[in-house]
């Protein structure tokens, strides 16, 4: 079953001469329970696709369908319960003066979820934090712990789709491994669908089964992770990206 279907998506910023096209004629489908990866350099438009999906960019054209719902200018309440996003920088995406408890309960109130108390304990447990973290402020948490809170917040309205915008790029490799394992566990246990954006081919290759390579707002290639591991890319840009990535790992 298709969870996300995007056809001929264009996203642009500015008007007239100042118009710049961030995403050009992009189409893809993501099946339910699939992990789909988007890679590319900074400015290639990969985050913009996620932002357009959740409605953070007003200027787009094309067709986007998420879980059977065709997206228009406004998203329904059910959409936000179903689709959640995790942002890049856990230092910037949590309110500095709200406790973990307040961050999580606010989301649940917005979505009309009852028994908030039990749910928070459950959520903190799911992301491997435990009840002792419940009344802490973000500055009392490490980067990895903050990202776990951000993931817990995204999971609060029981979504089926998570959009991950470079969820580990601000973290140390050792903490990155913990978060990637957590994401893999959650996906398996709750049958979630992910779209994951990253510039790190190693990270994308670890989680994703199918990967789209972007350059200048366009998909240059969509390939399976096995083909990527064998370094079988047909497009020269993908080859270049793979070579530099393999070189840096040495």
């Amino acid at each position: 079953m298709t969870a996300i279907s995007v056809q001929n998506l264009n996203v642009w910023f500015g008007v007239g001469a100042a118009r710049s096209d961030a995403v050009l004629d992009v189409s893809f489908d993501v099946a339910k329970g699939e992990i789909f990866g988007l890679v590319g350099e900074s400015g290639s438009g990969k985050s913009t696709i996620l932002r357009a999906l959740v409605g953070l960019v007003p200027t787009w054209s094309g067709t986007m369908q998420v879980a059977g719902e065709t997206l228009g200018k406004k998203r329904s309440q059910a959409f936000f319960g179903n689709v959640q996003m995790v942002f890049q920088d856990p230092y910037a995406s949590l309110h500095p003066r709200h406790t973990v408890d307040r961050v999580l309960s606010e989301v649940m109130q917005l979505h009309g979820i009852k028994d908030v108390d039990d749910r928070i304990a459950q959520l903190l447990d799911d992301v491997g934090l435990g009840a002792s973290f419940r009344f802490r402020y973000p500055h009392q948490l490490s980067g990895g712990q903050r990202q776990r809170v951000a993931i817990a917040r995204a999971l609060a309205p029981t979504p089926t789709i998570l959009l991950l915008d470079e969820p580990t790029s601000a973290l140390d490799v050792s903490v990155q491994a913990e978060i990637l394992n957590l994401l893999a566990d959650l996906q398996r246990d709750q049958g979630l669908t992910y779209i994951m954006v990253s510039h790190d081919l190693g990270v994308v290759g670890h989680l994703c089964k199918r990967i789209a390579v972007m350059n200048n707002g366009e998909f240059v290639e969509v390939l399976g992770v096995d083909a990527m591991r064998r370094l079988e890319a047909s497009h020269p840009y993908t080859k270049h990206l793979l070579e530099s990535s393999v070189q840096s790992v040495g």
Binding site: D172, N181, H199, G202, H206, S244, V249
Partner: protein, 286 residues
């Protein structure tokens, strides 16, 4: 063996605060010859602070103590501030992480580069311009005359970092400290910037201290590696012998990196042993 470029023995950096004294660097010893030394560790392991302490950039309430901190035999721990200003940039240079925050946004590239050169050498403006443009050309910037008049916001991240490298190398320092020089850049640009830095450092016979959290990158790029944990050196080895590393922390760092070519179902997670924190620092003096 000839005298090392930098000789540090038992370096401590402390920060006092309301909640007591925090030891950021705890008894680190190392030497740097004409080689490329990598310092690796997680955030908060004290690697950047070590780099900054070498340039005496630790401000109060930070306290720097050491049995010895010498630049080619000259004591830099007790040198005057005026002398340090000559040394900084002149003989030891530092490349910072993010060109967006380290270049002056209201000066053109050329202005700030010639300023850096003229602070250390008495050259005329026109001569400085010629040298600057030649240096920009050496870091593989196309059309250096045009870039000379651009402002930092008009250049890309990779170009900005190359401009930083060019600026730091202009006064011909003997030692370069690069603090995560490529972590703000895309992979494809990373390699290019590193290759340029590598070539210049080799050609000039400089000493390089390369600070990074990326163990694989450091292993590929350096001769010798120092691994830091909680302000101490837990292990030191030749880059070529990294695969034979023994310390569980080093192994943990190596195994936690997802690798495209060798996939695993689960990544290894580092189990931190409190004993690592208490173990004495390994000396990386040679």
């Amino acid at each position: 063996m000839s005298q090392p470029l930098i000789d540090v023995e038992n370096l401590w950096v402390r920060f006092g605060g309301r909640s007591g004294v925090f030891d950021a660097v705890r008894g680190v010893s190392f030497t740097l010859g004409q080689e490329r030394l990598g310092i690796v560790g997680e955030s908060g392991s004290g690697k950047s602070i070590t780099g900054r302490a070498l340039l005496r950039l630790i401000q109060p309430p930070g306290i720097v103590e050491a049995d010895q901190m010498a630049l080619q035999g000259e004591d830099i721990l007790h040198a005057s501030e005026a002398r340090m200003r000559q040394l900084r940039g002149g003989r030891i240079s530092m490349i910072m992480q993010d060109p967006k925050f380290s270049l002056n946004p209201v000066m053109s590239v050329g202005q700030q580069m010639t300023e850096a050169l003229r602070a250390h050498e008495s050259v005329s403006k026109s001569q400085a311009r010629i040298q600057t443009i030649k240096m920009l050309d050496e870091v593989a910037i196309r059309d250096p005359e045009r870039v000379f008049d651009l402002y930092p916001h008009e250049v890309s991240g990779g170009m900005g970092q190359r401009i930083m490298i060019a600026m730091m190398l202009l006064p011909n320092p003997e030692i370069l400290i690069a603090d995560e020089p490529t972590s703000a850049l895309d992979v494809s640009v990373q390699i290019q910037v590193l290759d340029i830095m590598d070539k210049l450092v080799r050609d000039r016979g400089m000493g390089l201290i390369f600070i990074s959290h990326d163990l694989n990158l450091v292993a590929k790029f350096c001769d010798r590696i120092v691994i830091m944990y909680a302000g101490r050196i837990v292990e030191t080895c030749k880059a070529s012998e990294l695969r034979q590393a023994k310390h569980p922390y080093t192994l943990g760092l190596l195994n936690s990196v997802p690798n495209l070519e060798y996939p695993r179902d689960r990544l290894d997670v580092l189990k931190r042993d409190p004993a690592w924190r208490d173990a004495p620092s390994v000396s990386a003096r040679q």
